[in-house]
């Protein structure tokens, strides 16, 4: 413990060196900008700016890139809230409630909640990282395919309750997402499957962002056009000190979801297979399941913004853990960071903590400081971000449309995906008109491939014996939790039916 504190103090001192401090602020700002552009995520940001870091010492370099990574996690929330387009895959869950809040003229509240939740998530995560990095790395090693599958099951379970009372429609939506996730190559045998109309383009599958931007960007745009009949909408909010203070005071409403998101996010982030996107979706689902007022989720509940934002920031710190201790990246962005570390002459792996303590502790120290930097920058910039909403909707709609098309094309570089995105957008709009929840489909397309791979790996290794999932303690625990979670909304509903009059319909 004492050695940890001494090392940490050294790390913090390093983080406060002028160059490093500058790197933190520069990184956070760059991350914010990259994150809020749809189609440009932290992956692209880190890849594009990696060369800049060769001009400075390795510690300053990783500090810059790590700060950029956090900044981007928050930046994603900005376009999710203000425009309803997920800026990055990690910010999809933030759209669910962030966008309705913005439409109700509460964009500043949503942005504030996102900033504070991100800060708490990041801080909790880095404290856990500091104290328990080595034992957590050992724990992550215990996660084989069986445990991964059980965890995915748990993630799906958190979403069964997401569709409100209509469980059959939720299951339909999940299945729709799973079918889309299965398009492309079979992940075990490598055979092409579900290639519709024999179009080779389908071999590359349907990307997650294609679906998310379609459903939330285009679908949302159509929905708003219909509901307002093209009437000019104004959401202009004047930011005053009083309003800021009031927004800050709202923290009580979402603090519980933030804690849940922080711990869950860190934990899921440390597992090499998962990453920040599943973490934020799971956190949203859990927070809704255990909310006193689950019906208000998806309609502008502030906890629905805080939960995923806390989780994605916590997960981005968490995913540094397998990178540093095992040399295995927990997310696509850390994969690029890993490349950077090799160039700087560092060999990430079990020995890094002993062989390059200055580097590791400098990085850890900078994470604390970077969290402060991001939250300050974000809160300071809220008045700028919400100016976007002051635009008349007739002007905003074409901009959203262009950003959606651009965002998808920038990610995959294919017109085919852009068309698919538009088709899915219209499809998503129709589903919404028919009262189908679309969020579960988004969850399924993210988790589907992870779940499929781990299920098949488990069954191959047990030679087809399904009891392999219940004979392993961690896997069994997750499965029991999943069953409990799945039945929780049902039990809740029965309780409510018993007490309340059946007059809801």
């Amino acid at each position: 413990m004492e050695t940890i504190l001494v090392s940490l103090a050294g790390g913090l001192l390093q983080a406060f060196e002028p160059l490093n401090l500058f790197m933190i602020f520069a990184g956070c700002l760059a991350g914010l900008l990259v994150g809020c552009m749809p189609g440009l995520g932290s992956v692209n940001g880190v890849a594009i700016l990696l060369p800049v870091t060769f001009l400075v010492p390795p510690t300053a370099a990783i500090i810059f890139l790590a700060a950029l990574y956090y900044g981007a996690m928050y930046g994603g929330a900005i376009s999710s809230i203000t425009l309803g387009i997920p800026g990055a895959s990690t910010a999809v869950a933030t759209v669910f409630d962030g966008r309705p809040m913005a439409q109700a003229g509460k964009a500043d509240k949503a942005l504030m909640a996102a900033a504070i939740a991100s800060f708490i998530g990041g801080t909790v995560s880095i404290i856990l990282f500091t104290l328990f990095a080595p034992p957590l790395a050992a724990f992550a090693l215990k996660f084989g395919p069986q445990e991964e599958f059980a965890l995915m099951l748990l993630a799906f379970a958190t979403f069964i309750g997401l569709g409100g009372d209509d469980i059959p429609k939720t299951i339909f939506s999940i299945l729709l997402g799973l079918v889309m996730a299965a398009i492309g190559f079979d992940i075990i045998s490598g055979q092409p499957r579900m290639i519709f109309f024999d179009m080779v383009e389908f071999q590359r599958g349907i990307g997650f962002l294609v679906l998310a931007i379609g459903i939330y960007g285009i679908g949302e745009m159509l929905w708003t056009l219909e509901s307002t009949k093209g009437k000019v909408q104004m959401h202009n909010v004047t930011i005053t000190w009083a309003r800021m203070k009031e927004n800050f005071g709202q923290i009580k409403e979402y603090i519980n979801s933030t804690w849940v998101g922080s711990f869950l996010g860190f934990f899921v982030g440390t597992l090499p297979a998962a990453g920040a996107t599943p973490a934020s979706l799971m956190s949203y689902g859990l927070s809704k399941t255990f909310s006193k007022d689950p019906e208000s989720f998806g309609k502008g509940n502030i906890s629905g913004v805080a939960a995923p934002e806390a989780a994605n920031n916590a997960a981005s710190t968490g995913s540094m853990l397998p990178m540093i201790t095992l040399g295995i990246p927990g997310s696509p962005t850390t994969a690029i960071l890993l490349g950077g570390m090799i160039i700087w002459g560092l060999r990430p792996g079990p020995l890094l903590f002993q062989e390059s303590p200055d580097f590791v502790w400098g990085l850890i120290g900078s994470m604390y400081v970077a969290n402060f930097a991001t939250v300050l920058l974000n809160i300071a910039l809220i008045p700028v971000f919400i100016r976007v909403l002051a635009m008349p909707f007739t002007l905003l709609t074409p901009i959203i449309f262009v950003l959606c098309v651009l965002g998808v094309f920038a990610t995959t570089d294919r017109m085919f995906d852009t068309w698919i995105m538009l088709i899915l957008g219209v499809g998503g709009y129709l589903l919404r008109k028919l009262n189908y929840p679309v969020a579960p489909a988004v969850l399924a397309i993210v988790l589907g491939p992870l779940a499929e791979r781990s299920l098949r790996q488990s069954l191959i290794s047990s030679q087809g014996d399904v009891t392999t999932f219940i004979t392993r303690p961690i896997s069994l625990t997750c499965i029991i939790l999943a069953i409990l979670l799945m039945s929780y909304p049902l039990i809740q509903r029965m309780m409510r039916r018993r007490t309340a009059e059946p007059s809801e319909n």
Partner: protein
């Protein structure tokens, strides 16, 4: 709209920061550096090292963006490159699944000899690894004995059916007359992690994938499938020394899509040859057990590919495609 404007400008500013080197043809936009395998594996590490060196030495006016396309044992990447025919801004880091995947999945419609050869960066090697916890396994004999006793309960991790390690696993099954359960993972890094976590029993990882765990004492090599002992592993016997005729290498070459323009090929060839001769690359080769003596390019590399395709066809015929795909 000031935010968006700033963003557009800053994005544009980023794109033009690198100073242009003098050459007739040079990239006009970021180059997609496709990796036909998952993150953390040998190909991935190499591609990311090369990308970093390109940036560090300022060898390209536009950045190289590494993109992993591990789906279907590299089928996804091969198909992608095929569809990019005629494109001058996409190159791919390949491994032996470059040969095996199109053979096993004939319906993929990819002929790798049509791709544009750019440069052979290294020949990678294979070792047989087990967790250090396995006190009962000290050498190849005790390994074979243990595997035979375990039968299908013995789990070998790999990077996908049809990938080079599954070919090597099938070769070992044929040579030692045992049968194991082969579990595919999305990349060599994940395989290494699962070996250290005891989720699998053995693997034939490349040295770079196990090096850090080996140095930390988490995993141990039993045998190397090379002609001679490598500098990095002086105490590990080769299979040939032990009387087992298995010698298998992995090519690490960079290739472009079919129909790349001659000017672009020249530019990329110069770029990768410069990287090949750099001190950093040669050091990496030594520390990670790669053989980097000759830089093959152009027609020589094309011929090399053609020979390798035939060799792998024979190999797959010998052990049977079913042994590799596990069907």
């Amino acid at each position: 709209m000031s935010i968006l404007k700033t963003l557009t400008f800053s994005a544009a500013a980023l794109a033009v920061t690198a100073p242009a080197a003098l050459a007739e043809w040079q990239p006009r936009k970021p180059v997609e550096f496709i990796i036909m395998a998952g993150t953390g594996g040998g190909a991935d590490q190499i591609a990311r090292l090369l990308q970093g060196l390109i940036e560090k030495k300022d060898l390209s006016p536009r950045p190289f963006i590494p993109i992993n396309k591990p789906g279907g044992s590299g089928a996804e990447a091969l198909r992608y490159l095929q569809d990019k025919a005629g494109d001058d801004h996409t190159v791919m880091m390949t491994l032996n699944s470059f040969y095996t995947t199109p053979i096993i999945q004939s319906e993929l419609g990819v002929d790798v000899t049509e791709f544009t050869p750019i440069g052979l960066m290294a020949m990678d090697t294979f070792l047989l690894w087990v967790n250090t916890d396995r006190d009962d396994i000290t050498d190849l004999d005790s390994y074979v004995e243990t595997v035979k006793a375990a039968g299908l309960d013995w789990k070998v991790g790999g990077t996908g059916s049809g990938q080079e390690d599954s070919v090597l696993t099938a070769m070992m099954e044929a040579a030692f007359e045992y049968e194991v359960t082969y579990i595919p993972f999305p990349g060599g890094g994940t395989v290494a992690k699962n070996l250290v976590g005891n989720q699998i029993d053995s693997t034939v990882n490349n040295p770079s994938e196990q090096m850090e765990f080996f140095r930390a004492g988490n995993s141990k090599p039993l045998v190397q499938f090379t002609g001679e002992r490598m500098e990095a592993f002086p105490d590990v016997p080769t299979a040939k020394e032990l009387g087992v005729d298995i010698e298998y290498y992995m090519q690490r070459s960079v290739n472009g899509p079919p129909g790349m323009s001659a000017e672009a090929v020249e530019w990329y060839t110069n770029l990768f040859s410069e990287l090949f001769n750099s001190q950093e690359w040669q050091d990496f080769c030594t520390s990670d057990g790669l053989t980097c003596d000759n830089f093959l390019n152009g027609g020589d590399l094309g011929e090399f590919h053609a020979t390798q395709v035939v060799a792998h066809q024979n190999l797959i015929e010998q052990v049977g495609a079913a042994a590799i795909t596990g069907e």
